[in-house]
């Protein structure tokens, strides 16, 4: 018997806007659901990691835990931009693999105002904010333009990602937007940063998600459908990073943080990209899903766009992507989004994703990517 971490419980608080609820209350909801799913109480948790970005204060992790009564277990807050939930899960995984704990909780919580993220969340300096160079979508727009120029990716293919994700989101009760959208609606929505339009973007919002991990030794006591956390890799960007927060670069030929994390994750899980049954990708904007599907080696360079137009990434396609609607439909509570992906991945591998169920799902890959190139690739297996 190895010391792999096993997911025994998952919980989520719907992603959306909940002005009546505190960030700690959102966390409590997700944790309660995850504990119930694992058939345990908070008293059984031996260590906890909590991911948050915009509401971070030193006591946030313990404050969420104290909703269940005082505890003395170690609780540590984790921040890694949009990859925070992935980094948090990795901490929990390491705590299990290291052998000291048998039950560890990973929680992601976030509450964010409407509109663009505050400059500090993405790590911008004051001068970038003062000169208007701190609008995240401009970086994705320029990446999209380069991809279109280099590979012939079309704006219709990019819009189709949004159509697909809204279609999947309409089947997900935990998504903020549950309404299908036509290609014309996406293409004709307001231009934010050319060539990307409003409905190609995710919106920052509120939400929480929680995952209970157990050691292989005890997992069978709690679940009849163990989902193995086969790999969780976390990398940040090498030089250059012509993306959010970066302001200069040089052509070094380095691989991106997403590719580096993917290679590490495939190796740790002992699988290749061809073994992936479904993937949850960082669709902060629709072009990102195409670009990352290539950086994750799921499709060859330049084939991410055609894959979308050929329907390969639809629920019944060869490689379904963002089966829960992605953050384009769910919205992006930064600290919680990665664990929201794990929630979907586990549901799919348990065969409990209802109308979104992918046939014969055996391996789920979850990818988040944020400022500074923080990238996490998680591989779940049954």
């Amino acid at each position: 018997m190895g010391n792999e971490a096993v997911v025994i419980g998952i919980g989520i608080h719907k992603f959306g806007r909940f002005p009546e609820k505190s960030v700690e209350e959102l966390g409590k909801y997700a944790v309660e659901m995850a504990l119930a799913d694992a058939n345990i109480g908070f008293k059984d948790v031996q260590a906890m990691f909590l991911s948050n970005s915009g509401n971070l204060y030193p006591g946030i992790g313990p404050k969420v835990a104290f909703m269940f009564g005082r505890t003395t277990i170690p609780i540590v807050n984790v921040e890694a931009a949009c990859a925070g939930g992935g980094a948090c899960l990795r901490m929990a995984q390491m705590a299990i693999k290291q052998g000291e704990y048998d039950i560890v909780l990973a929680v992601g919580v976030e509450k964010q105002p409407r509109g663009f993220l505050a400059p500090a969340i993405s790590g911008y300096e004051h001068w970038q904010a003062m000169s208007g160079l701190d609008e995240n979508p401009m970086y994705w727009a320029m990446k999209a333009r380069l991809h279109m120029k280099k590979y012939g990716t079309t704006i219709e293919q990019i819009a189709q990602v949004s159509v697909k994700n809204h279609k999947n989101g309409a089947l997900n009760p935990n998504a903020m937007y549950q309404k299908p959208m036509t290609l014309e609606e996406v293409l004709n929505s307001r231009v934010v940063c050319d060539p990307l339009t409003l409905y190609m973007f995710c919106a920052p919002n509120d939400g929480a998600a929680a995952v209970v991990l157990a050691s292989e030794k005890v997992a069978r006591r709690y679940t009849t459908k163990p989902v193995f956390l086969a790999a969780c890799a976390h990398r940040i960007s090498p030089y250059p990073e012509l993306d959010v927060g970066g302001y200069f670069g040089y052509n070094t030929g380095n691989k991106t943080s997403t590719t580096l994390a993917a290679i590490e994750a495939y190796e740790k899980a002992g699988i290749g990209p061809e073994d992936v049954s479904l993937a949850e990708l960082q669709d902060t904007d629709a072009s990102g899903e195409i670009i990352f599907s290539e950086e994750l080696l799921l499709f060859k360079e330049g084939e991410g766009g055609p894959a979308v137009s050929q329907g390969l990434t639809e629920l019944d396609g060869k490689l379904p992507i963002s089966t829960d609607g992605g953050i384009i439909s769910k919205g992006e509570p930064v600290g919680a989004s990665a664990l929201g992906q794990i929630y979907e991945g586990v549901l799919q591998l348990r065969g409990m994703a209802g109308p979104r169920q992918v046939k014969n799902a055996r391996v789920a890959l979850c990818h988040v990517r944020g400022a500074l190139g923080h990238a996490c690739v998680t591989i779940l297996k049954v």
Binding site: G115, F116, L117, A118, P119, E125, H126, W127, A129, M130, S131, G132, L133, D134, E135, M138, A141, M142, K143, R145, L146, K149, R190, V191, V192, C193, D194, P195, L196, P238, Y239, P240, L242, G246, Y247, F248, G249, Y250, N251, T252, N254
Partner: protein, 141 residues
């Protein structure tokens, strides 16, 4: 007259006047060959300390671009916002740098167009100093 201060230390050559003589400066790594903006002790790419100062060419071309059509979040002044073009500029030396593009209509911007560095007052800081900011302007024939 207000004092002139750079938008960030270690990025502009000095003196700061006349403005047209200011260039962007940085380092070249003698170990891996990478260029980086600003003074630094370690190579941003390979961590070597074997660096030499480098003054960048004031000329470059548009590598990729977009138009900012929605006001950036505060503290960017919301009331004076008008859509403007932004680009990754590729300097002649090979450095990429993000910049607002001036002297350029919203429909005029395109890949590979030639641009030139300009340094001008960007905003006033909390001490009343004029903050100097770089931009790149489209070179028109």
């Amino acid at each position: 007259m207000a004092n002139l201060v750079p938008f960030k230390n270690g990025v502009f050559t000095t003196p700061l006047q006349p403005l047209e003589n200011i260039r962007l400066k940085g380092v070249k790594c003698l170990s891996c060959g990478s260029l980086a903006l600003g003074e630094r002790e370690y190579c941003i790419n390979c961590t070597s300390k074997d660096l030499e100062p480098h003054i960048f060419s004031k000329y470059g071309k548009i590598y990729s671009y977009t138009i900012i059509r929605h006001a950036p979040p505060p503290p960017y002044p919301q009331e004076s916002f008008k859509p403007f073009p932004v680009a990754w500029v590729e300097l002649e030396d090979g450095l990429y740098i993000i910049s607002e593009i001036t002297n350029c209509g919203l429909d005029e911007i395109d890949f590979d167009l030639p641009v030139e560095l300009v340094v001008e007052k960007g905003w006033t800081d909390e001490n009343g100093n004029d903050v100097l900011m770089y931009k790149f302007k489209l070179i028109k024939k």
